[in-house]
Point group: C2
Chain length 146, copies 2
């Protein structure tokens, strides 16, 4: 079923998802992709710049993608050309439970490819204390109704 | 040892890293974080928008971070406030071998925190055919020489 580009309206706000960042997953992700001591070594991290282990910013991005795919993106998604103004505003720590909020700020039909449009969203990731830990302007290509 | 903020000059260019994107890792990452059919299902992907499985853009970001930490970032890194103009320009496919290129475009001492500075870099990820598959403007906080 899913929603086509034509079903999406500027101004729509969606709040969705739940992603618990466990210490084990934070360390596992960072060992593979971002092995800085404040991501992978709880002992060293305690004396480091964040006073403890924090998640790699790319891990928070990946977690936010997983919330998107489970809740908002469907089979009409055709991928993304990119993201603007990605900001890691607050550390994400072991045990934090994240959720997402997205507001559609622009929806533009493609001129060159009439089967699709581009949707731009102001995207926020919040933690269980309602702090905004990450923001970005995300672009998604969505199929038009045939 | 490592390099302090004070050792970094605007205009510096570094080319570094080697990251092979295997099909197994592409599917594994995407099953966890970005389970869209064009990332996880080789059969469906063949008929999909990219003609085959492609890596999640966040996987390419994670791979680029792993190249950075192994080659450019050291113990004087204090994390990142964010990234601007992240663009996924070309699909990354199974078997692609990525490398990175970074040019320092700005280096600014922090006004509020005299122990650190912010370095802005124009960052590119290239594949084995020398196609630029991803670009971003990356910001990194680096410790100043004490």
């Amino acid at each position: 079923m899913g929603r086509y580009f034509d079903d999406i309206a500027v101004g729509e706000v969606h709040e969705f998802g739940r992603y618990e960042m466990t210490e084990a997953e934070i360390i596992d992700f960072a060992r593979k992709f971002d092995p800085q001591s404040f991501h992978i070594d709880p002992v060293a991290a305690r004396k480091g710049p964040f006073g403890g282990v924090i998640a790699s910013g790319w891990h928070t991005c990946a977690a936010s993608m997983s919330m998107l795919v489970g809740n908002v993106l469907d089979e009409h998604s055709l991928g993304s050309p990119g993201v603007d103004e990605l900001r890691w505003l607050q550390p994400v720590r072991p045990g934090d439970v994240l959720r997402s909020r997205a507001k559609v700020i622009e929806a533009r039909a493609s001129k060159s490819r009439p089967d699709r449009g581009i949707v731009k969203s102001a995207f926020e990731v919040l933690n269980q204390k309602n702090e905004v830990v990450m923001t970005m302007t995300a672009m998604t290509i969505i199929r038009r109704r045939p």
